[in-house]
Each structure stands twice: as C-alpha cells, then as structure tokens.
C-alpha cells in the first residue's frame, strides 16, 4: 500500500479511535517506519481523540486511587513470586498485602504532602500577586498625580540645558499657584562620584538653593518653591552640595 491508499483505508482512524486487532496495530506500526510522513497525520488524529476523551472523562472516586494503585503494586509483587510452597505463598500474600498497604499509605502521605506544598506555593503566589498589585496601584497613583501636576494650567515647564551639550538638560515644572516645583532630571549627564548637581533660584540677585538633583534616586526630584524667583540655575558642586553656588561651575540657566 502507498501513503494515499493507507490514508484512504480508514485503518489510521481505527488505529487511533477504534479497537484494531494486534495484526492491524503491527501493520500500522510498520507503515510508520516505512512512511514517516504518516506520523503527522496520526498525531493530528490522536490530539483530537484525546480532546474527545477529556471532554467525556469521568473522575474516579477519590477512594479508588489508593485501592487501585495498591492493587497494581501488590499484584506485581505477587506475580514476581510464582509457584512457591503453600506457606511461602501465604507469606507472599501477607507481605504483598502489607507492602501494598504501606505503599498505599506512602502514596497517600506523599499526595497529602504534595497537595499541602502546592497550597503553600499557591498562597505565596497570591501574597506576591497582592503585593505586586499594591505596588502597581501606588505607581499608578503617583503617575496620575504627577500627570495632573504637569498638566495643571499654571504649571510652567522651564528647560535648562548646557550650551554646546545637547545631551545635558533638565526640565523644571514650576507652579506659582500651588507653590510647587519639580525637576525632571532624566536628561542630565552623569557626574563623577564626588560631585552633585545643585539648583538655585535667583531672587533679587541672591542665589538661594532649592535642591540637589540626586541622580541616584528618581527621574523626578521635588524642589523647594521660592517666591519671586527670576531665574533658575544649575551648578556642579562637591557631593552633598554647597551653601553658596560655585559660579565657575554654573552650567545651566533659564528665566522663570
């Protein structure tokens, strides 16, 4: 038979769905060796058959498991010791029974332990999921609050950038109505470990520090809002900041 004839014979459907004779099983298994392309066809039939079987599954009673598995193992032990004397036969039966009971108890204990572990794992996963959800909720709330502030009709976005350095800039969101200031420092270039960016407000010619732009923390840094600021200025200072700005290290400036 060639592949086409095999596919049309219906024997593969009998092989998977029906109750084929041992001769038919052997014949089909030989065809599988001869025509490997049959495997895909058989696999597709098998997957459909399995789905039907699962749809029509009937769960055995819980007590069956112990009985059946003990019975299987006991029968196996019995068959391994065929035709002994009547005493040893009886002894074998007793041992099989004890062994079966022990194995059954072991299986039951193992199952209980396994179920308990599964429950614990599930509980851990639930706790982790709850924590993740709480964290995500907090992140969403923070983001929403930030967005509200940035979109506020009185919030002014002031961009400070270093001349000649496209890659070094910060944006300050300045709101005189809410008397709040916030800096987005994502665009600032990295500094050496012993240096910090410090931001100053110029009020009537006096430079007042309104915060350190600590890059190790967040993308946004809350600043101290100062009334009557005329301009904002960023300097590079020693780590931790200075009381007075180092004018020679003034790198960015913008009017408010």
């Amino acid at each position: 038979m060639n592949v086409k004839e095999i596919l049309e014979s219906g024997l593969l459907e009998d092989f998977v769905f029906g109750n084929p004779s041992q001769n038919d099983v052997n014949r089909i298994e030989n065809w599988i060796d001869e025509y490997p392309q049959l495997i895909d066809h058989i696999l597709a039939l098998e997957l459909t058959a399995e789905k039907i079987a699962l749809d029509n599954a009937i769960a055995p009673q819980q007590t069956w498991k112990n009985d059946i598995l003990s019975g299987v193992l006991a029968q196996n032990t019995k068959n391994d010791h065929k035709n002994p004397s009547s005493f040893s036969n009886a002894l074998g039966h007793a041992l099989s029974l004890i062994l079966g009971t022990l194995i059954g108890a072991g299986l039951m204990f193992g199952k209980i332990k396994s179920t308990s572990n599964q429950f614990k794992n599930l509980e851990k996963e639930y706790v982790q999921l709850s924590e993740d959800c709480t964290n995500n909720r907090s992140i969403i709330a923070t983001s929403e609050s930030l967005l509200d502030y940035i979109q506020h009709h009185k919030t002014e976005a002031i961009t400070l950038s270093q001349q000649g350095f496209n890659q070094n800039s910060a944006v300050v969101f300045w709101n005189p109505e809410e008397k709040r200031a916030l800096a987005s420092i994502e665009g600032l270039a990295s500094l050496q470990a012993d240096q910090s960016y410090q931001i100053w407000a110029d009020v009537n010619g006096e430079m007042i520090s309104i915060g350190l732009l600590d890059q190790a923390k967040n993308r946004f840094v809350a600043l101290n809002y100062i009334e009557n600021a005329e301009s904002l200025n960023i300097t590079i200072e020693p780590k931790g900041g200075s009381d007075h700005p180092t004018v020679s290290r003034l790198i960015m400036s913008a009017k408010v």
Binding site: G10, G18, T48, A53, D55, N56, K65, L129, C133
Partner: protein, 195 residues
C-alpha cells in the same frame, strides 16, 4: 513532566510515576471504560487491570509509534471489551438461577446520563455523533459499524473522516475562545485586585 519522562521512570519501577500517570489519565480512561461496561464496580476492576497492564508493559510502549494516551486507551478498550465478552460467555453457560446472581448490564447500569456523550461531540450531526460513539467509545471497527448498521463501508469511512475534521475545527475554535476568555479573566482579576 512529559509522558515520555514519566514512562522512563515507570519502566524503572518508580511508583510515583505510576501515581502521576493515574492522576493524569484515569478520568479519561474511566470515561471510556464506563461507556463500555456501564457499571462503576466493574469499571473499577477494569481500571485496575488497565493500570496493571500499563505498569507491566510500559517497556513495550514505543513513543515513535504514537502518543501514550492512544496506547493506554487501546488497552482500556480491549480490557473492558474482554471483560464484557467473558461475562457474556459465562452467562450463557450458567443456569438461570446462578445467572440472576451475576452481573447484569441493564440492572446495574447506574446513571445513564453520566454515560451520555459530553462536550464538543454533541455539536456534531447525529449521524457523525453515532459514528464517533461507536468507534471511539464502544470499540467498534469501521467494518463492524458497516456490518451492524447496514451502512456501506465507504460511507462509514467518509463519515468518520468528516466527523474527525469537524471536531478538529470545533476544538481549534474553542482554543481561540479559551485564549480570549483567559485574557478577560486576567483583566477582571486586575480590576478586582486594583479597585
């Protein structure tokens, strides 16, 4: 763990592997057995015999020749049908008095509803549903269906192929719906946990 890995452990006498196979496949196998023997008590005996055969003959299973479930379901069907045949032969040779004490299919049929076909098979036309029931759950060959139901063998083969193709389409559609349902479930979970 894959069937293949479980079978290797089973061949090495690993009891845990037998337990895992029982957990994984006993409901599907019992569904087949029950539809043939139609009695819980008998089905339990047959299911045990099936697992004895799986345990003893695991080394004969060749994964290059088909999936484990196909092999196991063939054992289940054969065992259940043999059981019925043996009972039937015994019945014929016994007196009526003794016969009454013996297993009687009709009397002991517990709950016919349980044995009705369930799931996607019910979406098939009646003629296809009958074919699937006889072939898959009653252990008929296609030739036997043809002989018993006086349907030309060519028609039986065509119906079998059509039924399987229809079922494959139905199951593929249901997988798509399942994926969508899963996504909806995840979204609902997030809504519940993030009020």
């Amino acid at each position: 763990m894959s069937d293949s890995a479980l079978l290797k452990k089973l061949i090495n006498g690993d009891h845990k592997a037998l337990e895992s196979i029982y957990d994984r496949y006993s409901p599907a196998l019992l569904g087949m057995i029950m539809r043939i023997v139609k009695s819980e008590d008998i089905a339990k005996e047959v299911l045990q015999e099936v697992f004895v055969k799986i345990w003893k003959n695991a080394q004969r299973y060749d994964e290059t020749k088909g999936r484990f479930f196909t092999w196991a379901s063939r054992i289940a069907k054969n065992t259940a049908l043999n059981y019925i045949n043996v009972k039937s032969e015994k019945k014929q040779s016994q007196t009526k008095e003794l016969e009454r004490k013996h297993y009687d299919l009709k009397v002991q049929t517990p709950n016919i509803d349980v044995l009705d076909l369930r799931g996607k098979v019910n979406q098939l036309d009646e003629k296809y549903k009958l074919i699937v029931n006889l072939l898959y759950f009653q252990g008929y060959t296609q030739q036997e269906i043809s002989d018993e139901y006086k349907i030309p063998i060519g028609t039986v083969k065509t119906r079998v192929r059509s039924a399987i193709q229809q079922l494959r389409r139905i199951y593929d559609d249901s997988i798509l719906h399942t994926k969508e349902s899963f996504q909806i479930l995840i979204a609902l979970l997030c809504i519940i946990l993030l009020p």
